[in-house]
């Protein structure tokens, strides 16, 4: 059974200035006594998550809400294993597929088909899985012969279609989504919704960060309200979303 458990997770993100990362700075600091005071101007540390403890079980559909910079994307990255927590523990079981920024991580000079392979491998698909799904991906994105052209020739809409088609073809046990709804033109949007719904059905756990409360109400059964890197509220959708709406309009 798939699950994700965060126990007292704290994450400090170091923000390096151009100076902060240079070796010159570091060497210059060696001779100085007041290293901390000097050091502070180079590396700024942002506490992105502080003491977050939650457990998501198989079958749950979790929505993340909160204002910008509340830590929604960061917590998704922690759950995906991209960021290791500074303190605390992350326990996880099941194949995790993060769809964080679907348009990144494609190679401009490679053709559509080559990108299907690249992105598929990056998302952890096996060779046989890729072969089996290539046709289906090609059909879904409706790019036809364009798939043989390098994707730098694509319009931004075509690019997103391709990225979306590849990313959503992966079989995930735990699916992490970050605001992926704005996909392509109206007709494609409709198809994309259906495909996402199908993807949700196949996955055991879905965690999605979204700003649309209506969408959250429709798809999620549990909601995690993040505030300043911490958990503000965690519980059934209706209760939390109502509280959040009341807070926002207040």
């Amino acid at each position: 059974m798939a699950f994700i458990e965060l126990k007292g997770v704290t994450l400090d993100l170091p923000i390096y200035e151009v100076h902060g990362r240079s070796l010159k700075r570091q060497l210059a600091q060696l001779g100085r006594r007041n290293a901390i005071a000097e050091g502070n101007d180079g590396v700024v540390i942002v506490r992105a998550l502080s003491d977050v403890s939650v457990r998501f079980e198989s079958g749950q559909r979790i929505g993340l809400i909160g204002h910008n910079g509340a830590g929604k994307s960061t917590i998704l990255r922690v759950m995906a294993g991209i960021y290791a927590p500074t303190a605390g523990e992350v326990a996880r079981e099941g194949k995790v597929v993060p769809l964080l920024d679907i348009s990144l991580g494609m190679d401009d000079n490679s053709t559509g088909l080559q990108n299907i392979r690249l992105r598929g491998l990056l998302l952890g698909m096996t060779d046989s899985e890729l072969k089996a799904k290539q046709q289906e991906i090609a059909d879904f994105c409706e790019l036809g012969d364009y798939l043989d052209l390098p994707i730098r020739t694509y319009s931004s809409g075509m690019r997103v279609r391709l990225a979306f088609a590849i990313s959503t073809a992966v079989d995930a046990e735990i699916l992490l989504l970050d605001e992926v709804m704005g996909v392509g033109d109206a007709s494609f949007m409709h198809k994309a919704q259906a495909r996402l719904a199908d993807l949700h059905r196949r996955a055991e756990i879905v965690v999605l960060a979204m700003h649309s409360n209506a969408e959250i109400r429709r798809t999620c059964d549990t909601v995690l309200w993040m505030d300043h890197g911490g958990v503000r509220m965690f519980g059934p959708t209706e209760e939390i979303v109502s509280a959040y709406e009341a807070y926002v309009s207040a």
Binding site: R21, R77, I82, P98, G105, S110, R117, L122, D127
Partner: protein
């Protein structure tokens, strides 16, 4: 102590398809839309060897039939080594977009570098074959030793790439420092000249590990058997280097996604 890096390495090896693809993409990108594609590598290397060969061969008073194969074997192996170490320094930096999106094993980004440079070496190898065909193969018996030699060279270049990649992700002026170090190493290592030729400062050659690293690859091509000392040194270097690189990688593996 080595645990994290070894696990990562195993996972990376298992996804060989991914790093082989990433390596190819780089090459494809560099030569996109050119008619000859990666064979431009062969051509430019050929031009370099021909011009250095003629000028320095004359300056050093060398016999062309000896000097050209020597120079070609040296430059081609050096090219593989130097670019692996140098491109290793941007291994994580230039793949930041991937690293921030998916939690793959990290060493795939390092492994693609030696792989790419082996492909380039294969293209450049045409020149060596050509020169051997023109001037004759010095000894068929020693040729097979080229393969273990290349393995040793690649293993050594890879651990260095692991280290330069990791530290460059944290300290951004390191790629420049490494580029100039590699440039200096090119002059103090017997590549254009023969090891025996440096009579006054022979310690530069004797104490330079890169001399042995090149010897282990090029000597078999030139009809010589690398000495026992050469093998012991280079293999020892590979073992110690890998242990060091894996230890350091283990220590900082989790920080990579913060640094890039």
């Amino acid at each position: 102590m080595l645990k994290f890096a070894v696990t990562d390495l195993k996972q990376s090896m298992a996804s060989w398809r991914l790093w082989m693809l990433l390596g190819w993409i780089e090459i494809r990108q560099r030569y996109a839309r050119s008619r000859l594609g990666p064979f431009w590598l062969t051509i430019s290397m050929g031009v370099v060897i021909a011009s250095i060969g003629v000028v320095y061969g004359t300056l050093f008073g060398q016999k062309m039939s000896d000097y050209l194969p020597y120079l070609a074997a040296s430059l081609v192996s050096w090219g593989m080594f130097a670019s692996t170490v140098q491109e290793g320094s941007t291994a994580y930096i230039s793949n930041a977009a991937y690293i921030r999106q998916v939690a793959t094993a990290k060493l795939i980004y390092v492994l693609q570098v030696p792989w790419r440079n082996l492909i380039i070496l294969a293209h450049n190898f045409v020149i060596i074959l050509l020169l051997l065909a023109i001037f004759g193969v010095p000894s068929w018996a020693t040729l097979p030793l080229f393969i273990p030699g290349l393995v040793i060279l690649t293993l050594n270049a890879t651990w260095m790439a692991m280290l330069t990649g990791l530290f460059s992700a944290r300290f951004r002026d390191l790629p420049q420092i490494i580029a100039s170090l590699v440039q200096v190493a090119f002059y103090v290592t017997p590549i254009m000249y023969r090891p025996e030729a440096l009579t006054r400062f022979s310690f530069l050659v004797r104490l330079n590990p890169l001399t042995y690293l090149l010897d282990v690859v090029r000597q078999p091509l030139l009809g010589q058997v690398p000495s026992m000392q050469t093998y012991v040194l280079t293999i020892g270097m590979a073992i110690v280097g890998w242990l060091l690189a894996l230890t350091v990688t283990s220590r900082y593996l989790k920080r990579i996604s913060y640094w890039i």
